[in-house]
Amino acid sequence: MHLLEVENLTKRFGGLTAVGNLSFYVDAGEIFGIIGPNGAGKTTLFNLITGYLKPDSGKIRLNGEDITGLPPHKIANKGLARTFQIVRPFRHLPTIANIIVALNSPRGKKKIEWIKTAERKAMEMLEDVGLSEMMLEPAENLSHGDLKRLEIARAMALEPDIVLLDEPFGGLSPIETEYMVKSIQRMHLDGYTIVIVEHKLQALMRLIKKVMVIHYGEKIAEGTPEEIAENQKVIEVYLGKAI
Amino acid sequence: MIEGIILHGILSSCTFALLASGFTLSYGVSGIINLTHGAFFMIGTYFYSILLDVFSISIPAEFSILSLILPVIASTILTGIVASIYYRLTLHQILGDELATLVVSISGCIVFQQMIYLIFGSLWGMQLPVPELLSGNITIWNVSISYSRVLAAVTSFCLFVALWLLIATTKTGKAMKALSQDHEAAMLMGISTEKMYMLTAAISAGLSSIAGVMIVSSTTRVGSAIMWLQPLAISFAIVVLGGLGSLKGTLVGGLIFGFSRTIVELTVPLGGAIVDAVPFLILLCVLVVRPKGLFGKRVEMED
C-alpha cells in the first residue's frame, strides 16, 4: 500500500484546468520531488491534497484511507503536514509559541510523551532546526531564512507520516540553502516521507530519488533525476522546442 | 388579501432596493463595506425635514409642488457633499485596512448620531408631517394605498433604473464597473481611483439619503438620532441576500426583503412587531448554505 496515493485528480477554475487527471503515488520513506514551470499547477496540487481546495474529480488516499474533500485540519491530524510557499508564521506569537499552537491540535497533544510538557517538546523542535536562541522573539522579528525553518519545525511538530514542502528553498542564501538541504536529509534519515515542490533544481536533485514533472496541470514525466534530465518533453517544456 | 400582499410587497421592495443600491455600489467600486451608509440615510432625512420648513416658507403657493421636490434634491446634494468630505478625511487614509475601516466608519455613525443629539437635543428630534399635496389614498385592486407610498415607490424605482443606466452606459459608470471587476487593471487604464472613490461615496450617500426621505416620509414619519442602525442592517441583509457588488442581486434581494416583510406583516397576527426579524432569519439560513449570497461576486470566506 502506498503512503500517499493521488488518483485522477482534476480541478478546474472556470475554463482553466489547473490540474488535469493527475495520478501519482509516494511510498513510505521516499523523498519525492515535483517540478515544473511556473503556473504549472504545483501549488494548486498541494492545496488539493491538503484540503484547502476541493477537487472536481479524483481521489486522494493517505495510508489507504480516502481523504478527498476533508478539511485541512482533519488532514493534518491524520498525518499529512505541509509548509507554505510564502511563509505564514503567527506574527504576534513568540517563536516557540508558533510550535506550541501545533502541539495543541489533537495529534499534537498525542505526540507529547507523557513526561514532557508542550514547551519542552517545542524547544526540542526548535533545536532541531537551530532556532532555539530565538525562542522568545515574536515571530515577526525573525529573518526570512529563520521563518522558513520555523515553517518546517511547525509542520514537523505534528510528527506527520508525510510532509509536503512547498518551495522550502525559496529566497534562501547559499548558506541557508545548504543548511536546509542538511535539515531535509536529516528528516529523511529519521524516517519521514517528504514531498518537495521546488524550483531550485540543484538543491532539489541532491535530495530526491524520484521526481515528477508537471506542465499545465498534467504529468508529463516521472522517474529518477537522471531519466528526467534526458527526457525530451521535459527539456522542451523548460527550454522551449528545439528549432 | 393576495392583491394587498403583491402591491405592498412591490412598493416596499422598490424603496428598499434603492436603499441597498448605494451600499452595494460602494462595496462594488471601492471594496469598502461602509457602515456609515445608514448614517447618511439619517442625515439626508434630517436635511430634508429642515429644508422642507425652509422652502415651504419661501416658495409661493402656486409652485407648492416645488416645495416638495426642491428639498429632496437639495438634501441629497448636501448629503453627498458631506459624504465625500467625510470619505476624504477618513476612509481614504486607511483604504485596505479592514479593521481600521470598520472602526472609523462605526465611529463616524456615532459621531453623526451625537451631533444630531447635540443640535436637536433630544431623543426624538424630527417629525415629518404629511404635506397637503400628498395626502389621500389611491385605490388599486380594492386595496387602499396612500399617495405618498406610491410616489415614493415610483420615484425609487426610477432612480434605481437611472443608476443602472448610469453604470451601463455613461463613461463614469463604466469606470465604476471596471473598478469593481479588476481594480489594478482599471488603475492601469488611467482611471483615477481617488476621484472615483469620492464620487462613489457621494453617489451612494445620495442614494441612501433619497431612500431615507422616501421611506420615512411614506411610512413612519418620525426620525431620531439612532435611526441609522436599521437602514444599515436592512441594506446589509438585502445585499447579502442578493450578493455583494451586484445591482441585479440588490434588486432581487430587495424583492425578497420587501415581500417577506409584507407577507409576515399582513398574515401573521401581531406580525408588525417581528416584521424586521423575518428577513434576518432568511439571511441567516442563506448564509449557512451559501455565504456568497445569490449573485455574489466576491467570496467572503477564506480559501
Binding site: 485540519h73 504576534h92 509559541a97 506550541i100 511547525r154 | 486607511i94 479593521l99 470598520l102
Partner: protein
C-alpha cells in the same frame, strides 16, 4: 510565553515610569481601589461611577478576548447585555430567584446564545461578521417588543432589590459602598480569568487564528471550534456584565442594550490597547472618569448651552473623535505605539549612558 512577551512590553512601560514590577503594579492598583471608599474621599455619585465602570470593564475585557485576541469582530456585544439583563430581570420578576442562582443562569444564557449565533455567523470573516453581529441587538429588541406581556417593553422591569439583604447586613455597609465592592470584586475575578485564558495555550491558539487562519488549520487546529469557544467565553462574561447592570442600576428595557454599549467596548479597547485584556479595563475607567467626573462634575457640561446646543451629549462624541484621530494616525493602536516608543527609548538609554560616561571622561 505570550505572557512573557506582553510582560516585556508592560515591564518596559512600568519599570521605565514606575520602577515597579507589573504584577506589583496591578496589585497596588487593586489595593488603592479597594481602600478608596474607606478614605471617605468619594461621594455617592463617584462611587456609582466606579461601580458602573467596573461592570462595563467586564464587557470590554470580554469583547477584547474575542476581537483583539481571536480576531472575530463583534459590533453587537450589547446583545449579551440584553440577554444577561433580561434573563436576570425575568428570572427575578417571574420566579423570584435569588441572586446566586440568577447570575450563573444568566451567564449560561449568554453562552448558549453565543453558541447559537456563532454557528452560522462565524463562518464569515471581518466586515461581514461585523455587520451580522450589528443586527442581533436589533433582533433582540424586536423580540422584547413582541413578547411585551412578559417583558414589559419600554416600561421596563424594575431592578431587583439592590443587594441581597444578608450581604448588606453582614458587612453593615452603606448600599453604595457594598455595590462598589461587589462590582469591583466581580471585575477583578473576571479580569483574572479572562487574562489567564488569553495567556494560556488555548489563548495562543486564539492568537494563531487572529494571525493566520490558514496556517492554523495546517497545524491541525479546528479553527471553527476555537472561534466558537472564544465567542462563547466572551458571551459568558458579557452577559455577566448585563446581569449585574440590571441589579445595580437600570430598568431592563430595550434602551439599556442600545448601540452605545456595542460601540463602547470597541472605543475603549482601541484606546486602551487592543488584545491586551487589561487595556480595555483601563480604558473603561478612563472613559467613565472623563465622562462622569471631568465633564459632569468639574466642567459641569450638562449646564452648557452655548450656541443653543445641548453639550451634554458631547462627551461620547469627543471620545469617539479622539478614537478616530488615533486610528487614523496610529492604525495599530496607541498602546503599541506607546510601547514601541518606549522600546526605542529603552534602546537609546545605553547610548545616552555611554555618551555621559564619555563626557565625564573628558
Amino acid at each position: 510565553m505570550v505572557v512573557k512577551y506582553l510582560r516585556k512590553a508592560y515591564t518596559n512601560f512600568a519599570t521605565y515610569i514606575y520602577d515597579i514590577p507589573p504584577r506589583m503594579l496591578a496589585l497596588l492598583l487593586i489595593m488603592i481601589f479597594a481602600l478608596l471608599p474607606m478614605t471617605r474621599a468619594l461621594d455617592s455619585s463617584t462611587l456609582m461611577m466606579l461601580r458602573d465602570a467596573s461592570v462595563m470593564a467586564i464587557l470590554a475585557a470580554s469583547w477584547d478576548l474575542l476581537v483583539g485576541r481571536t480576531g472575530q469582530m463583534s459590533l453587537g456585544h450589547a446583545l449579551f447585555i440584553g440577554i444577561g439583563g433580561y434573563s436576570s430581570a425575568l428570572l427575578f420578576m417571574h420566579f423570584g430567584w435569588p441572586v446566586w442562582m440568577v447570575i450563573p443562569v444568566s451567564m449560561l444564557a449568554g453562552a448558549v446564545v453565543a453558541l447559537l449565533i456563532g454557528l452560522p455567523c462565524l463562518r464569515v470573516k471581518g466586515s461581514y461578521l461585523a455587520l451580522l453581529t450589528l443586527a442581533f441587538p436589533l433582533l433582540l429588541e424586536r423580540a422584547v417588543y413582541y413578547f411585551r406581556d412578559v417583558t414589559k417593553a419600554e416600561e421596563g422591569i424594575p431592578p431587583p432589590p439592590r443587594l441581597p439583604a444578608f450581604f448588606q447586613g453582614l458587612i453593615r455597609l452603606d448600599a453604595r459602598i457594598a455595590e462598589y465592592y461587589l462590582t469591583l470584586s466581580l471585575m477583578v475575578i473576571s479580569a483574572i480569568i479572562l487574562y489567564k485564558i488569553a495567556n494560556s495555550k488555548r489563548g495562543m491558539v486564539f492568537v494563531s487564528i487572529l494571525d493566520d487562519e490558514l496556517a492554523s488549520k495546517a497545524c491541525g487546529i479546528n479553527v471553527t471550534n476555537y472561534k466558537l469557544l472564544a465567542f462563547v467565553i466572551s458571551g459568558l462574561f458579557a452577559s455577566l456584565s448585563g446581569c449585574v447592570a440590571v441589579y445595580i442600576s437600570s430598568f431592563a428595557n430595550p434602551s439599556f442594550f442600545g448601540i452605545r454599549w456595542s460601540v463602547l467596548p470597541l472605543v475603549v479597547t482601541i484606546f486602551g490597547g487592543i488584545g491586551t485584556i487589561y487595556g480595555p479595563i483601563v480604558g473603561t475607567y478612563i472613559y467613565y472618569f472623563l465622562d462622569m467626573y471631568v465633564f459632569r462634575k468639574i466642567i459641569n457640561i450638562s449646564e452648557w448651552h452655548y450656541f443653543g446646543l445641548t453639550w451634554e451629549y458631547a462627551t461620547f462624541l469627543i471620545f469617539i473623535l479622539i478614537v478616530i484621530i488615533f486610528i487614523l494616525k496610529w492604525p495599530r493602536g496607541i498602546a503599541r505605539a506607546v510601547v514601541e516608543k518606549l522600546e526605542d527609548l529603552e534602546e537609546a538609554r545605553p547610548i545616552e549612558e555611554l555618551e555621559q560616561k564619555m563626557a565625564k571622561a573628558d
